[in-house]
């Protein structure tokens, strides 16, 4: 078995938070006695990631994704459990570890706002003690991949959100880390910038073999980049396995969309082939069990004959599948 780059065992993080009811009386009471409550942000998760993998880390808001990333990067000490990244215990924050990993948060900036990114890169070169030639090569490569030519000489505060994000990526990767934790890297970006960032992450992984753990609420990010996903909810691991299998396990049905020539889909009775989930002009979408999907498709083609302009069979949208995992709250499979 390959040596895991990320090895997490029964990792837990409990935050102690103060609770207070509304109103003056409760406020006054809180001066004397505060009510505290333990919140299990991460409630014992176990997984491992092999070298070079890109893994999607999914879960609704408050699921514990960011807390886990913070523990794996070394920002937070866990309440219990173990983790090793590149053989290091992350929260010891040894320099040798920090030089080999990065945590990029889409909504946080690590650059100095008042100076151009090129100068921040120089600061990072000094901090990470990157040899001059390696620094030049990396900056050149990142500049090409992220199309930064025009951006690195402007003060960061003058950049748009998308431009800043690209520069943040470069800053986060300037020391060529072997492991990257990406927390919502495309948040707030327009579609074309999201596509560019995705392309960049894939290319970076291909060129460097870096291991990447990525959280995102944009399923397009996950579909484009991750063959494997880990789903957590309320701090517990619900699914760990191939993205493709997730739909099969959680949504045991397929969607057949038939487009008719005569545009008379609304008047055609297709209920006999499956459950009609939508009916637009000339297009009907049916939900059918996975097992019978091929047979139903064949029947539709046969029965509709020349009236059929097009037919497609697809898995349900990944958002729908993930939502079913969250609502079921059951551990589906652990790879």
């Amino acid at each position: 078995m390959t040596e895991a780059v990320v090895d997490v065992r029964e990792l837990r993080k409990t935050f102690r938070v103060t609770e207070r009811e509304e109103g003056l009386a409760a406020t006054l009471r809180s001066f004397v006695k505060r009510r505290r409550k333990d919140v299990n942000a991460v409630a014992g998760i176990t997984f491992r990631i092999d070298p070079g993998e890109i893994v999607g880390f999914l879960g609704p808001n408050g699921a514990g994704k960011t807390t886990t990333l913070k523990m794996l990067s070394g920002l937070l000490h866990p309440s219990a459990g173990e983790a090793r990244v590149l053989e290091f215990v992350p929260w010891r924050r040894e320099n040798a570890y920090l030089k080999r990993m990065t945590l990029l948060m889409g909504n946080r900036s690590q650059l100095v706002w008042d100076i151009p990114a090129a100068d921040s890169f120089r600061v990072l070169q000094e901090i990470y003690r990157i040899p001059e030639q390696q620094f030049r090569d990396t900056v050149k490569e990142l500049t090409e991949l992220l199309e930064l030519q025009e951006l690195v000489h402007k003060p960061v505060r003058n950049l748009s959100l998308g431009e800043r994000m690209k520069v943040e990526f470069a800053a986060g990767l300037i020391h060529s880390p072997s492991v990257a934790f990406l927390d919502e890297p495309t948040i707030g970006l327009d579609i074309s910038m999201q596509v560019r960032i995705r392309r960049f992450v894939a290319e970076y992984n291909r060129r460097t073999g870096a291991t990447i753990l990525l959280t995102s609420h944009y399923m397009d990010d996950v579909v484009a980049l991750c063959k494997r996903v880990i789903v957590i909810h309320r701090g517990r691991l619900l699914y760990d396995g191939p993205l493709a299998d997730l739909a099969e396990r959680m949504a045991p049905y397929k969607l057949i969309t038939a487009t008719l020539h005569d545009g008379a889909a609304s008047s055609t009775d297709l209920d006999a082939y499956g459950t009609v989930v939508s009916r637009e002009e000339g297009r009907v979408t049916l939900r059918v069990d996975r097992q019978v999907a091929p047979e139903r498709t064949a029947r539709l083609v046969n029965d509709l004959g020349s009236r059929l302009a097009d037919i497609s069979v697809e898995d349900p949208p990944i958002e729908e599948v993930i939502d079913r995992v969250f609502t079921s709250e059951q551990t589906v499979v652990s790879a």
């Binding site: 920002l75 320099n95 946080r108 008042d114 120089r122 600061v123 901090i127 990470y128």
Partner: protein, 261 residues
């Protein structure tokens, strides 16, 4: 190692040069007000209070302004903000202790304000006809003394700052600290003029070793043996705060909850 950090900080500081100058002016105003007040009091009492005449007061407050500028450390205020806004997180994830950024910020502030401050202090010195009793030996001792004072201010500031790991209201603690410094550091009056018990307390607390002591050494207001004794006090407090900082940091960073980061 500091070269690029210094360059970046100077570039960033150049964006706020007016603000820096205003801060520097603000830091000079208070000693000058006290100087004016003591000059008025001294004049009403025949020109002398204790061992200080008007020209001695002028020299003392000029030295105090210079020392204040050279030792000023505002980490507690910045650090609380960084913890609260999650800005500390990226710094914690780099192979460089966050304290180094503060060292550079402090150095740059001092480098960028020392020349205009010098001009103002020369002007004040001429206006009040300040008399310095400084000998070459005093000047020689002043260098390590002001370095000890700056390091002491820096590490005591960081001990306060690190409290931000437990509470997001460090501001209240540092305000209390500043008020105590106001009385015991030699700002309100030279330490030698404080009433007996207050003077004893001042010398037992760290504040005077940050401002009053190096100011008096620079003015030549203490003998060389006394200066050496006072510098030993500075060194003791520096060691205490240095180890306190390391201890508090180690425990505090485990406490860090990376709020909103």
């Amino acid at each position: 190692m500091y070269r690029a950090l210094l360059v970046a900080q100077i570039q960033a500081a150049s964006q706020y040069r007016v603000q820096s100058i205003l801060w520097m002016l603000f830091s000079v105003i208070r000693p000058v007000i006290f100087l004016a007040a003591w000059v008025a009091v001294a004049n009403s009492q025949g020109g002398q209070i204790g061992a200080y005449d008007v020209r001695d007061f002028a020299a003392y407050y000029i030295c105090l302004s210079l020392v204040s500028n050279l030792t000023m450390s505002w980490n507690a205020y910045d650090f609380e903000f960084e913890v609260r806004m999650g800005r500390l997180s990226p710094k914690l994830l780099r192979p460089l202790h966050p304290i180094h950024y503060s060292v550079v910020e402090n150095l740059v502030w001092k480098l960028t304000t020392i020349v205009p401050l010098g001009i103002i202090l020369v002007f004040v010195s001429l206006t009040f006809d300040a008399r310095f009793r400084t000998t070459p030996a005093h000047l020689l001792l002043f260098v390590p003394s002001v370095l000890l004072a700056a390091a002491l201010a820096f590490f005591s500031g960081w001990v306060l700052a690190t409290l931000a790991f437990w509470t997001t209201r460090v501001h209240a603690v540092s305000t209390f600290w500043d008020r105590a410094a106001f009385i015991f550091a030699g700002q309100i009056a030279p330490l030698a003029l404080l009433p007996g018990p207050l003077q004893a307390i001042s010398l037992a607390l760290p504040f005077g070793y940050i401002l009053g002591v190096p100011a008096e050494i620079l003015r030549g207001g203490v003998s060389i043996p006394t200066a050496l004794q006072l510098m030993a006090g500075q060194a003791i407090w520096l060691v205490i705060f240095y180890f306190a900082f390391h201890r508090v940091w180690r425990v505090g960073v485990r406490q860090y909850s990376a709020v909103g980061a």
